[in-house]
């Protein structure tokens, strides 16, 4: 078969790191080629080279048999390479049609030729079986639909090689299925698809060929049928065997420690973002909240931590009504809090590691009095966290922004868990972490659970919810629409409720 892309000896160095080390990759026309690897494996760098954002230091690129130098993204699209970004680049107030033609409008007498554009885009939709109303505003579309608009954008520009950067990260299971149907259709029509992901199940489902990158090197390129199972792929990715199923002790359910009753929260525009949420989490269990982001998870977490005032309802943490308590007081009744965005909410990046290791606890007696921080004691404390939570760093006296995401998260975990809280509220605890660090975080949470902690886990990653939770609540549009024992739950069923399937009849 024809090689549509051929990369030979591609090397890209950044000061102090080799992002791509002598990569040789061949991609056949009309295949779905998955590129997998952990964060920092060099996936994005490679794709940026292909889309003209970076120039390789050495090596050659052949597109359709011809040697090329890809000067910039515009040039890439001319060569037929279209990038579908993870973060959509759409104008939400424009219609689908406007968004698709934006930047490559064809004009007639100085005006945009809408007639022609509409005809072309409609043809495009028909040819690839996309069901969209092109006159709808993009802002009112679901995430999955917006992604389809992104794909249409590059198709409209004549791309026959589509590069999709983590396309499923933002999608619900049903939407992933629809995306895969679209991708297969595109493949039938002879398009070549490069699919970047670290979700192995999905890769195994969709890809014809899989290339594994690790630390800038190409480890292996295999045909789909050469791969036995997920763990084999994970091992190639990480370079050592990986635990995909966690062993947990049998549940020893204790007293309820988190009780939320009929919680109603309104946002600034007076809309109910939480609409009568009730659930309980018991000592010794992990309660997972599954749901597509933006369905009230953030508001739920903020209400639990006293950061958001509620309209009505009751929250008991460790049998204390937190109505009049602030975040400090809530933490003092034994709540550890891992916030969803560590850069924005969890850490003060320009401050040092040791300073961050007491953020929120810096007024505790053991760390000093009002007129003096006991720096020595804090350093000792930080050292403790570093040792117990396996933080890898050159020095605790540097700003914490110099640490990798995994190590930053370990500092947060250490800060919150070293006090042995009875309740842990963990929001997206492994977002952006690589497999190794995620595994570490998961095991910490399971250990806390086994020791009798009540854990509320909020995650957009359904796999994570399924792997850790004892019970699962599905949140949709500010309501818990279904609750499962984790053993009974299947991804399909959860996904059904996540996307607004009917409320499950109370069991």
């Amino acid at each position: 078969m024809e090689k549509i892309i051929k990369l030979t000896n591609i090397t890209k160095k950044f000061p102090g790191l080799v992002a791509n080390d002598n990569i040789n990759l061949e991609i056949e026309k009309g295949e779905i080629h998955a590129i997998v690897g952990e964060n920092g494996a060099g996936k994005s760098t490679l794709m940026k080279i292909l889309s003209g954002l970076y120039q390789p230091d050495s090596g050659e690129i052949y597109i359709k048999g011809k040697k090329v130098i890809i000067r910039n993204p515009r040039h890439a699209i001319k060569l037929g390479i279209g990038m579908v970004h993870q973060h959509f680049m759409l104008v939400s107030r424009f219609t689908i049609l406007d968004n698709i033609i934006l930047g490559s409008e064809k004009s007639k007498a100085g005006l945009i030729d809408y007639e022609l554009a509409e005809k072309e885009v409609t043809d495009l939709l028909k040819r690839y079986n996309f069901e969209l109303d092109i006159h709808e505003e993009v802002g009112s579309l679901s995430v999955g639909q917006q992604q389809r608009v992104e794909i249409l954008k590059v198709l409209y520009r004549g791309a026959d090689i589509l590069v999709l950067d983590e396309p499923t990260a933002v999608l619900a299971p049903q939407e992933v299925k629809e995306l895969f149907i679209n991708l297969r259709k595109l493949k039938e029509q002879g398009k070549t698809i490069l699919f970047i992901s670290h979700k192995l199940d999905e890769v195994l489902e969709i890809a014809d060929t899989i290339t594994v990158l690790r630390k800038g090197r190409l480890i292996k390129t295999l045909k789909r049928n050469e791969v036995k199972d997920k763990s084999e792929l994970a091992e190639l990715m990480v370079g050592r065997p990986v635990i995909l199923k966690y062993s947990k002790e049998d549940i020893k359910r204790g007293k309820p420690l988190i009780e939320v009753k009929e919680l109603i929260v309104k946002n600034e525009s007076d809309r109910r973002v939480l609409n009568g949420v009730s659930f309980s989490v018991y000592a010794g269990e992990i309660y997972g909240i599954a749901g597509i982001e933006g369905n009230g998870q953030k508001e739920l977490v903020d209400s639990l931590m006293g950061l958001l005032s509620k309209e009505s309802g009751e929250i008991l943490l460790n049998n204390v009504d937190i109505k009049n308590l602030n975040v400090n007081e809530i933490k003092r009744i034994g709540v550890g809090f891992i916030s969803e965005d560590r850069h924005k909410e969890g850490l003060v990046l320009p401050m040092t590691v040791w300073e961050n290791s007491v953020l929120g606890y810096h007024r505790d007696r053991e760390f000093g009095l009002w007129y003096r921080l006991n720096v020595n004691r804090i350093i000792e404390h930080c050292d403790n966290i570093i040792k117990n939570f396996d933080v890898r760093l050159s020095s605790m006296f540097i700003p914490i922004k110099g640490l990798s995401g995994g190590n930053q998260q370990k500092i947060i975990l250490g800060r919150e868990l070293i006090r042995n809280p009875k309740i842990i509220i963990a929001s997206q605890p492994t977002r952006g972490l690589d497999i190794g660090a995620s595994e570490f975080v998961h095991q910490l949470l399971i250990k806390a659970r086994d020791e009798g902690c009540a854990i509320l886990l909020i995650s957009a990653d359904l796999e994570e919810i399924l792997a850790l939770s004892d019970r699962i609540g599905v949140i949709y549009n500010g309501e818990i629409v279904a609750e499962f024992e984790s053993k009974e739950a299947t991804p399909d069923e959860i996904g059904y409720y996540m996307t607004g399937g009917k409320r499950k009849v109370e069991v």
């Binding site: 950044f14 000061p15 102090g16 790191l17 920092g40 931590m305 950061l307 602030n326 975040v327 400090n328 933490k331 809090f337 916030s339 924005k344 909410e345 969890g346 850490l347 003060v348 990046l349 320009p350 401050m351 300073e355 953020l359 929120g360 810096h362 007024r363 000093g368 009002w370 007129y371 003096r372 921080l373 720096v375 050159s394 020095s395 006296f397 540097i398 700003p399 922004k401 110099g402 640490l403 990798s404």
Partner: protein, 371 residues
Amino acid sequence: MKKDLKIRLLEVFSPIFAFIIAVLLSSLIILAINKNPIEVFYTMFKFSFRRIDSIAIILYNATPLIFSGLAVSIGFRVGLFNIGVEGQYLIGAFCAALVGFAIKGLPSFIHLPLVILSAILGGMLWAIIPIYLKVKKGVHEVISTIMLNYISLSLIHYFIADLFLDRNQKVVLGLGSTLIRMPKIMPSALMPKMHGFLSLFGINLPNHVYLNWFFPIAIILSCVIYYVIWYTPFGYELRAVGFNPIASKVAGINPNSLYIKGFLLSGAVAGLVGLSDLLGYFGYMDLDFPKGYGFTGIAVALMGKNNPFGIILAAILFGFLNRGAEGIQTFLGVPMDTVVILQALVILSVVVVSEVMIRYIRYLDKKGAKI
């Protein structure tokens, strides 16, 4: 570790690079007015550092700028841009002048502290308005402080020229006219000069030098602020809120409360800016009371990298420039405004160079992060 050292060095040296660039640029301007830049700078140095009294004058010049730089830097620490130091110090100085002349018969050890306290309260008073507007109404502090600067200026003019005008000035017939000024401050409220103290060490300053005890007070205050910022929970919270108010809030620190405390502290320090001139030189407040320290303080804080000790050095540099300006005007006929240009260039190049440095350091950081 080596990389950290490199970054540290860059941070320390960037103001010096900036100064060198400013000197080079202003040389061009000096050339443009047909003078020899080397001669001009040589004269500035010679004039400033050859005699001990000249050095004392530099320190006297630096005193208000240290206070002003500190005030601005406290605002910066908590993430607020206090452009209003200018207005705050004028109001502070006015309050001090008022308490200084209106209360009579107090011993100096009560009256002087009382006057200083009034200056502090005056500065704080003028800082309450913008921070209240910011916290409660969301008005950006830059806008409100700029407006309040104008208001304060007009207000003290009104106070000096009308409400509190000293109408009992005796003028020798046929010699001059009365000044537009407030009544003279009681001697019990004036700040003594350092001459007596320094003569113990064999340093004898002539009478035309006005170096007074506000200079050591400024140095001590710098040390205190350094300690507060880096070694107290309050300073920790100031910095945390300044860098990341959201994370601070999640950690149980109330950003609004810190904004208020930080800004009032900034205003309190601003209240002290005018005192060295008021209580150590003029002895009264008149229409020509020195203005502009608040704005120069922004430059001092920038150049000093918000570090109290950096601010002392930057303030002394500006004090030196002012002193040197007198020298080149007297000896070379170069207008003093040349030094104003030099100061402006220093400020500009500090901003540009530190921006370049920040980017370079960020680049180094990134490099480090990925290893």
